[in-house]
Symmetry: C2
Subunit: 400 residues, 2 copies
């Protein structure tokens, strides 16, 4: 595999000539490069956004390099010791183990996980004494940490930055020392953290790693990067029908980005698809169907992709969003008193959490009798007439 | 002992009503208070400046409270891990032990050291894991640390603050947690550090310590606080003649401060001496002689004080600083080549370190043939004529 193949699609290489040099070094020393990527065991779910980097990592694996996954169980076992962040309680060792297994089984959708090296960073960080920690801390200055915009903003706006948070980047950096990584893959927002790894290695006389970041994939909402917490994601293990349907729901302007980042087409095929979209020679709906088909094929199989396409055709496209597709719901079943909050009703009908329903409403994805509503405090009452309710892309109900 | 006796002479009590409350608590719970004070094992030499606080601590000991000395060996064993500060190499356990013994033997000049509790903070800090450290760090925020002016100034002026330095106040604070101190004695410049101890204790559900600071004693130069590094100090174990002579060298305007902080006179005796000085009813020299006598009596004995006074009278006062007092030195003995650097020469003549001699020269305390020199690079050569050399207050030599 050539340098050009490996560098293709990488958003940033720091330092810029680093990848070339590392590849030459590997050749000269006749050894594989050590590629590091990290996993947060409190968030084991992988989606198409993660897959952008993982597919690039697969290329390095295919080219004969070593892939090292760091399970960040050290901080997961500690949790947030300040107790301020209630969403970060400590995990038990069993939970960490379970989450790591979940994660690796999702990774197997992308590459042969028997070929990668898996490390748990508590193995080295958990052994460190206070004196070792002081030595680690002496390698970084306050100004370096404050290069991180979030720390700087919080400090300047008098939002507390606890000291354990301040040193987290060093912890992640020390992982690079422990495994002697040549290359670290990180999200764009992780670049500074990854560069700490580089400078820590160098302060200890090692060759510093280089850092590769991949572009961020925008979620189906078309606004922000794909993220589980924003609900705008497609998980790698989702059902083919959901993968297909969610892909069909992206706004047209995302087509070029999704062609580039989610399909496994060749560069030429990608260029053709984007050109077709931009020239208007192909209906955007047709290009999205191809993308959706390709995604299902990658993470499930071609047969699943065919079935998902057929399901979508039958369910949504052929019959349209007309009233025949609306499911009938009786007031007596959902609200015997004849009155119910829209959020509660949505949660019952879709069997989802209330916060999801609130997000749907606030995102403009809920309409009543054809009119959108953004009011999460709305209460519906039975006045004897039918109410047509649309909840998101695929929740259509007639309330009688 | 009453509250008024104990509070007398204390510079600051934080919080202001804290000492009253702690004394009432001790009475109510029928227990002694736990008084903490710390020792830096890299700097075991005690001088009259330290004695100001130690004499106050003796009052608490006499009143039945517990005195706990913390030997800060944890950081001394680590040194400055950044390697930037070459004056702070790690000490060996043997060096720490030796310095602690030196320190305690000097303390015995002030109180019965068999009655105090001695702790080595490596006993608890050395046991802490990285996870324990994270918990400790979570109890403080960056803004709290930046209340320290030195950190703030360095950060704002782009002078590096290494992260291990940033957390040192927490380390000292944790000592208060470990011994459950009620009161910590610190220098004025240690107040913020001591208050971390208080807030750490409180964040762990304990009763927070109060912090007492004592006034800083000005050194013999009359400019800055007494400090070994400035050479303006009287060590607790110095020879009676040196103690006496150095005290006689203080500028007159220091008399009230030295009466207050160095003598063991009663408040009434102190007030009289200060009034005599201010009214001009007593010659300042006579008051200084009383102070010098009292100091030697405290740290040696009355007989030593009488002898030191006699020595001073004979050596300095009666005969004056005339040439008869200059000691003759032969070129052949100190510089057979006929040429020698002023620093090297001074070090030989006074049997002191070269850095002490450099300090003397830079401090304007060295003159050649009656003319001051500030040149630490000066070389003297034998041109056949006599050279009269004054090195500090009591080093008078004629080089032939």
């Amino acid at each position: 595999m050539t340098y050009t193949d490996l560098a293709q699609g990488i958003e940033s290489i720091t330092p810029a000539n680093g990848l070339k040099e590392k590849l030459e070094l590997a050749k000269k020393e006749n050894r594989p490069l050590i590629i590091k990527f990290g996993m947060d065991p409190t968030a084991p779910d992988l989606h198409l956004g993660h897959a952008v980097g993982l597919k690039k990592i697969r290329q390095f694996l295919d080219a004969g390099h070593e892939i090292h996954l760091i399970v960040g169980n050290f901080t997961a076992l500690v949790g947030d010791p300040s107790g301020r962040n209630s969403t970060r309680p400590p995990l038990t060792p069993e939970e960490v183990q379970r989450n790591a297994e979940t994660y690796v089984s999702q990774l197997s959708k992308i590459f042969d996980t028997s070929k990668i090296h898996i490390h748990y960073n508590n193995d080295w960080l958990g052994q460190m004494s206070f004196a070792d920690v002081l030595k680690l801390l002496s390698k970084a200055t306050l100004s370096q940490m404050m290069q991180r915009e979030d720390f700087r903003n919080r400090y300047e706006n008098n939002v507390p930055v606890a000291l354990h948070e301040l040193i987290y980047p060093l912890i992640q950096g020390y992982d690079s020392v422990a495994i002697k990584s040549d290359i670290e893959f990180g999200g764009r927002d992780q670049l500074l953290n990854c560069l700490f790894g580089k400078s820590l290695q160098e302060s200890l006389g090692m060759d510093g790693q280089i850092v590769l970041t991949m572009p961020l994939l925008c979620g189906m909402d078309g606004h922000i990067k794909m993220s589980k917490s924003k609900g705008n994601y497609i998980g790698l293990t989702e059902h083919p029908n959901d993968m297909y349907g969610k892909t069909m729901s992206i706004p047209d302007f995302l087509i070029p980005e999704w062609v580039e980042l989610t399909t496994d087409w060749t560069p030429a095929e990608k260029a053709d698809a984007v050109a077709d979209f931009k020239n208007g020679t192909t209906n955007p709906m047709e290009i999205k169907k191809k993308i959706a088909f390709n995604i299902v094929k990658q993470y499930h199989s071609e047969a699943d992709a065919i079935a998902a396409e057929a399901f979508f055709y039958k369910q949504v496209q052929q019959k349209g969003f007309d009233t025949k597709e609306f499911k009938e719901v009786l007031w007596a079943d959902v609200a015997p008193t004849g009155s119910i909050g829209l959020v509660d009703l949505g949660a019952k009908l879709l069997e989802q959490s209330k916060s999801n329903i609130r997000r749907l409403i606030e995102g403009g994805a809920v309409s009543i009798n054809g009119e959108k509503t953004g009011d999460i405090n709305l209460t519906l009452s039975n006045d004897g007439s039918e109410i047509q309710l649309k909840l998101g892309k695929r929740g259509f109900f007639t309330l009688k």
